[in-house]
């Protein structure tokens, strides 16, 4: 299993933010922008929620951060490096340094659990015993080692998401993105997935979760960014990283409630 919980050390003063968006504007097909002049800093080792009503632009931010989209204007900086205009090869190498989890899992359904988990390392040229050992270790982290040879197709939604998380952990990514990771899961499984994400964070990764599930935000309190009217708004429930699951949640601010019940 993943290493025991601990709150990651704060980044040293003067260190560049893990992620920084500067003056980001994005529109589709020449229509009104989904995001307009958005700027944002995410410090290394932080846990951040991106929330907002459907269509607010959560997925657009997620796609910009994972280089699936290019901004019309502005910069996407990782550790101070602008990655927004990376070419295909640069993008491929950059993606090896970030973990990604999606609402629809994005797994090769006809392949086995271990083949899916091994994919990022295989892509990076890892082979043989080293690949098998690393794959096994990651499957153990998410508790699926016993099901390594089963096809993904036969797994439940929660198990598929665990496979996706194990795959995303391939290179111990310093930054981990999850887009509605619990969107297709029932509450119990959703909490299990969130537990895992929290542990990844506690191990030192910067974790960014796009979700509209207010229950999750309430249960795992962290820095919350609300996307509304083409801008990103800071919403402080509690101090970032100061609490965990099980503590009584504070009353949600009006924007969060509005995000849940627009």
């Amino acid at each position: 299993m993943i290493a025991p919980s601990r709150v990651p050390e704060p980044a040293p003063p003067g260190a560049p933010p893990a992620i920084e968006l500067k003056g980001l504007t994005k529109s589709y097909l020449g229509m009104a922008p989904v995001l307009s002049d958005v700027s944002l800093r995410i410090e290394p080792g932080s846990f951040v929620y991106l929330t907002g009503v459907s269509g607010a632009g959560k997925t657009t931010v997620f796609r910009l951060l994972t280089l699936q989209e290019r901004p019309d204007r502005g910069e996407v900086l990782f550790g101070g490096v602008n990655v927004a205009r990376f070419n295909a090869d640069q993008r491929a190498h950059h993606r090896r340094a970030i973990g990604m989890v999606f609402q629809d899992y994005r797994l090769l359904l006809n392949e086995s659990v271990e083949d899916n988990v091994a994919l990022p390392q295989r892509v990076a040229g890892v082979t043989g015993a080293e690949l098998r050992r690393a794959t096994r270790a990651r499957l153990e982290e998410v508790g699926l080692a016993e099901r390594a040879r089963e096809p993904v197709l036969g797994l439940s939604g929660g198990e598929k998401q665990l496979v996706a998380i194990a795959r995303a952990l391939a290179f111990r990514p310093p930054v981990f993105f999850a887009d509605e990771p619990t969107g297709n899961l029932d509450q119990t499984v959703a909490f299990k997935v969130m537990d895992l994400l929290k542990r990844i964070h506690e191990r030192g990764s910067t974790v960014i979760v796009a979700t509209h599930d207010l229950n999750l935000i309430r249960s795992y309190r962290a820095r919350t960014l609300l996307i509304k009217e083409r801008k990103v708004h800071e919403v402080r429930l509690v101090e970032p990283g100061a609490a965990g699951r099980g503590e009584p949640p504070p009353a949600p601010p009006a924007e969060i409630a509005a995000a849940e019940h627009p």
Partner: protein, 298 residues
Amino acid sequence: MIYFRYGIPRALRTMRQNPRAALSSVLIIAAALSVLGVIVLLHVNVRHVSEIWLSNSTVSLFLKPGISGAERSRLMETLQRLPMVRSAVEVAPAQGLSALTEKLGADHTLLVGVGRESLPYTIDVEVYLDFRKELGSIAPRLRALPGVDDVIYADREWAKVALFFQLSQALGLFFIGLMVVAFALIVSNAVRLSLYARREEIEILDLVGATRRFIRSAFVVEGVVLSLAGALAALGLVWLAYRLMLAGLSWNATTRHLMELTVFFPPEWMAPAIVIPALLGGLTSRFSVERMLRELEP
């Protein structure tokens, strides 16, 4: 290296996992290549037959009636000294009649009433191929030799065959070119259909950090393997069709002669006939994947 480490195993595995899709792709490629193969074979045979015709460089010298044996001998000596003459063979009237009878076959009754004295002595002169095109100017010189009554050679037929040969070559090459383009389009469409069915796989590879080269590798190998299998199947089908055609020709005495003239692809063509479609298949796959990857560009 990527091809050995990932491309080949992945391509073989995909084909094993989707045997029906792989088989239908092979059949589509085999069908396209079979049509191409038949056209090429037709082209080869037209060329072969034309070359046989064009290599016929015999000139028949009809000698004057009543020419003596001594005069014939002197004429033969003169002919053999000429630089363009490869061989000269005297044909007596009886031999000529016999050869004509054989040539006419079932129609030999046409010669009823024709006596050996009705035919003149002839000399069949074979000129070197280098002089073949100059027969028009050589013939009058031969006609002017003492004892020669007339000279006959297949000048007009040669010109017609040469024209037919050139036309058939051009037409054949045009259709072969057309079929190569059609083959590339057919393979490209088959590959693209298969790619669209696997768009998700390509997207996932892209998301986990696969380079373009890495993503391409499995699809290029798949294109090569499927086209290779298609080419082998097509070669088998064309060969089968050729054997069936020969069997059909052998039943009839008239067409049996055609059977002797037809040829299959020369052995040295076999390797290119398999390798070129395989390479084309790989290239087509590569372009199709590139196109899809461009669609995935942010």
